[in-house]
Amino acid sequence: MTDFILRALLAGLCIAIVAGPLGAFVVWRRMSYFGDTLAHSSLLGIAIGILLDINLQLAVIASSVLFAVILILLQRNKTLSTDTLLGILAHSTLAFGMLILSLSSAVQINLVGYLFGDLLTISTVDLWWIAGCAAVVATLLAVYWNSLLAVTVHEELARVEGVPVDRLHAMMVLMVALLIAVSMKIIGVLLITSLLIIPPAAARRLAETPEQMALGASVVGGLAVCGGLLMSYYLDTPAGPSIVVAACAFFLLSYLAPALLGRRVQ
């Protein structure tokens, strides 16, 4: 195998391992639309990065974090429902991003690559970014796991028990923003949340505890990345959709397998 596929594989595995537990929280807290919004807004980050001619990875991380902070602040003074707010932000940032990109026609960029992910674009520097950010998120998750879980299960109970609820909520949103920003290149803006949602959903059926679901999601995500990249390499399909299709297959398997096996036993 060539170098670029190895880099993509390593990067994908880093993302999948962290996306498992983080995605479980996204599922439990019903934040999937939140993730979508952050992903869409990162295209605006790319457009601004190209416009200002700065490091694109930095531009995307900065814009994701900025939008995450805006979302946290807007959510606090509940004038619009979260749902509506996210809808407005998701689509207007995507539209602005596309507009800026089409107007700054001096640079030819691989738009499809950003929307759906491109294996060939993962450089060694990208790999370090991904590994570094994944390590930061994984460490935070491990350190604050029990508190994050307590806040997710019952916020007020956690608050009465002295858990810093608001700070943990902000940390959760920032972690999602960070992971989305670094994994955009490999999976793409439009598909990135699926790696946060599908593996935990697939692991749900077999899990008895939150930890089993989180780690199961990491395993499913890792397998989906391997399967998807192999498919992408051999069939020359785009990376993002291949990974998502593989994840989806695992999800279907986890839901159908118990039913099929159950029938056979009877």
Partner: protein, 250 residues
Amino acid sequence: MDNLCLVQAKDISIQFGDRQVLQEVSLSVRQGQVVTLIGPNGAGKTTLVRIILGLLAPQSGSIEKPKNLRIGYMPQKLHIEPTMPITVKRFLELARHTRATPIDAILEEVQIKHLMDHQLRSISGGEMQRVLLARALSQTPQLLVLDEPAQGVDVAGQADLYQLINDIRSRHNCGVLMISHDLHLVMAKTDEVICLNHHICCHGHPEQVSMDPSYLALFGKKEAKNLAVYTHHHNHHHDLTGEVVEHTHD
């Protein structure tokens, strides 16, 4: 009654929009004392409790409690996301333990040790209330705050649950502040009843309150009569599964 004062609320007022939900409400809970909040739906009982817990800021008035007061809170209900797999034991482990209290011992105290490895979503309403009580106890509380503890519990189970709360109060010598609709069941074990309808209508000893004209106006003569009737004792007792067992309390 010179026990330690655990919490003192003074002249609490709060408005939601144009609606005055609480108007100059004052109350205090002392160590070993059971204070019961009663009142019709929408009277501001839960709002008052949330203010006392520090979950909500009052527009005027003050809450005084000793620093580092350990509070065990039992919320009205617990919604568990269907996507969240969690056992009773794991749920209790989520609590921030102020002192090392083994979960086994707490589960034994609320008599649900057999449910330890059950999924939280699979247990009954009555069992869930006991799990929530166990979570509150995991704080080794000096003050227990219970928001309708017997909600969703069958009639026989309600009496058991209130008996359990009373036992816990005497065993741990903690103060209890609870919201309850089950007047006839809690009256006997309550030191002070506060009848709340946006403001405090009347308060005092249960017998005293049940004779109070403002109480009768709020709940009607029928409810008051039920209280008088409920002085008899059952000669037997049901356990959690509904089996008749010999008398254990009293």
